[in-house]
């Protein structure tokens, strides 16, 4: 218990100090984030009737800029609290060589957990809903077109096939841009690749949502649905205790799952994002440290892993195979595995660390998402929806975001630096034990 209190105290004081020192920069970035979000809503709602693709582009760009502001804030805090200094110099050289320390690449790396957070916790839905409301309000047409309507996927030819084709093209464009970024000095390719990644992911989220609802609707009324229902009825009539147990578990899950996701999953995903802004190599390093590999060996392993592969055999054939493999599955190594490793790091940082992160993050989440908006709304008094639509972004969202978001982002960066320090200590202990032996 004393360890837990000490850990919480360390995170709180570290966060408070960093937040206070970096307050002006953090506030400016947060303000920019809010401004970009609001402007993009206005602009996207103006163009949504003209072209759904253009609106989706604006929507995707705004999400990317929001992420850029978050990443910038995290980098700022990380530099201040010494998270960067924990990365060994050898690894920093490797990162520079493979462009793992570029801003565009951080965006590409972090877009996956960021959109996971946005998708899983309803932020994308909220933004889409707001976009359609803006569209109705600005253009004053009740039959305003929404993004969901524009992209509702028809599993049948030709719309579904067209969207799949768009996905394939986006994938190819993104991978080409990533290659171009790695092989040239023009950094713009990195940003364009991140934008293509964002559009790719957004489109996938929208297609999955649409497919889910279409499948669910078409499943109802089918013979299969009737069979499932008949099995359910048979269980209720013949195995009452089993039926009540299933009912109890199902109703328990509907209460418990949202809580678990807010208290554990949300901090873990944000923590992963805070880790990924240091580059994928740092996550791998932390993973090796955590596994008890000594600091020097861990860096060596990562440097070696980065060395060009020469497996012999026919060079041309081998080169082609490797290039195709990199083109198709490079994403796994570059983005998805680091994201999964980063989430795992939060869960493997120790029970006390995870609990401390959960407690502090949940408190800030509740303040920012529930308590302060509730208080601000009460302070402004009861009004019609039109009032909230016009003024809530300025008088509710902005003050709450300015107050809470920088603190939350600071906490996440401080927590990542603390976790990195703790896994490095594990690794140092291994080295000391080896030296003693």
């Amino acid at each position: 218990m004393a360890d837990f209190a000490a850990l919480v105290r360390r995170l709180v004081t570290g966060t408070a100090r960093a937040w206070w020192v970096l307050l002006p920069q953090l506030m400016i970035l947060q303000l920019l984030q809010w401004l970009v979000t609001e402007l993009s809503f206005r602009f996207a709602s103006l163009v949504i009737d003209i072209s759904g693709w253009l609106a989706l582009g604006v929507f995707g760009l705004s999400i990317l800029i929001v992420l850029a502001m978050v990443v910038l804030q995290m980098r700022l805090v990380s530099n201040h609290v010494g998270g960067r200094r924990l990365i060994p110099a050898d690894l920093r050289l490797v990162q520079a060589r493979v462009h793992d320390d570029e801003f565009g690449r951080f965006l590409g790396l972090t877009i996956l957990p960021f959109l996971c957070i946005y998708g899983a916790f309803g932020e994308i839905d909220r933004r889409m809903q707001r976009l359609s409301q803006e569209s109705v309000a600005i253009q004053d047409v009740l039959a305003g077109v929404t993004l969901t309507q524009q992209f509702s996927i028809d599993p049948l030819w030709p719309k579904g096939a067209f969207l799949l084709l768009v996905l394939l093209v986006l994938f190819a464009v993104r991978r080409s841009l990533e290659f171009a970024n790695e092989s040239t000095t023009f950094r713009g390719f990195g940003y364009l690749a991140a934008f293509a990644e964002c559009m790719f992911m957004l489109l996938i989220i929208m297609i999955l949502r649409e497919l889910y609802s279409t499948t669910e609707m078409s499943f109802r009324g089918t013979r299969m649905a009737a069979w499932v229902e008949a099995v359910g009825e048979w269980i209720v009539s013949h195995m009452a205790p089993v039926a009540s147990l299933i009912d109890m578990v199902a109703s328990g899950m509907t209460i418990i799952w949202p809580l678990v996701s807010v208290v554990l999953l949300l901090p873990a995903l944000w923590f992963a994002l805070a880790g990924l802004v240091h580059g994928s190599k740092v996550i791998s390093l932390a993973d090796l440290w955590q596994a008890g590999v000594s600091p020097k060996m861990a860096v060596r392993a990562l440097v070696r892993r980065q060395a060009p592969v020469d497996a012999g055999g026919s060079r041309t054939v081998r080169h082609v195979v490797l290039t195709v493999q990199e083109l198709l599955f490079g994403d796994l190594d570059d983005k998805y595995i680091p994201a999964a490793q980063a989430v795992r790091l939060a869960f493997r940082g120790g029970a006390l660390f995870l609990a401390a992160l959960s407690v502090l993050h949940t408190l800030l989440h509740l303040l920012g998402e529930e308590i302060l908006p509730w208080l601000m709304v009460r302070l402004l008094g009861g009004h019609v929806y039109d009032f909230w639509f016009r003024f809530a972004p300025m008088f509710v969202d902005l003050p709450v975001e300015l107050l809470i978001e920088p603190v939350r982002i600071t906490l996440l960066s401080v927590a990542f630096a603390e976790c990195l320090r703790r896994v490095r200590d594990v690794s140092e202990n291994v080295r000391n034990q080896e030296a003693t032996a």
């Binding site: 029970a351 401390a356 407690v359 929806y385």
Partner: protein, 187 residues
């Protein structure tokens, strides 16, 4: 750093506490309504509209402009509220009404009352009630909207106690005319 049992227990306890706190906070911060309590004779505002209940009456039947009678039936009466909405601004909101009495919520035959920017509009709102249980009845007016964040509701305490109820019953006319359109007076 290692997952030891005491650490796991402490961690689980704290995470569970946070889950409980999250649940309680989410329950406590439900949007709700901004209820403005007004005594009979007073007025309450929703945006630019000033709302006032100018009169309440009891009757056993209401009649339309053509004179057709609509009786309430046995042990039933119409509580007829006269509501004046003065709109000093530019908002054009459909307002709706209801009556709470004896733990019930009764809706008028036509719950939407007139409101128009730049006018004082008087509407007659008949609500079928059990006249013996009207003590402490409250009449509410609020905007009729599809989407809400934190709406305002003006609730009038109609001041009906036993004496007032007897007075209303004694002075009840056999029928009251309820015009289809409310009366309008430009401001």
């Amino acid at each position: 750093m290692r997952m030891t049992w005491p650490n796991i227990v402490v961690g689980v306890v704290w995470v569970t506490l946070m889950a409980v706190l999250t649940q309680v906070t989410m329950q406590m911060t439900q949007p709700g309504e901004d209820v403005i309590e007004v005594e009979m004779g007073g007025s309450g505002r929703i945006e630019d509209a000033e709302i006032k209940v100018t009169q309440i009456q009891l009757t056993s039947a209401i009649e339309d402009e053509m004179g057709a009678q609509n009786p309430c039936g046995e042990s039933c009466a119409f509580l007829v509220a006269t509501v004046e909405v003065t709109d000093h601004g530019r908002t054009n909101l459909p307002l709706t009404t209801s009556l709470e009495y004896a733990g019930l919520e009764a809706q008028p035959t036509s719950s939407v009352i007139g409101q128009q920017a730049g006018y004082a509009i008087t509407s007659t709102v008949p609500i079928a009630v059990d006249p013996s249980r009207l003590e402490g009845a409250r009449f509410s007016v609020w905007p009729l909207e599809d989407l809400e964040v934190y709406p305002r509701r003006v609730t009038f305490d109609l001041g009906i106690d036993r004496v007032e109820l007897q007075r209303l019953a004694a002075e009840a006319p056999p029928s009251i005319e309820v015009p289809v359109s409310p009366t309008r007076r430009p401001l």
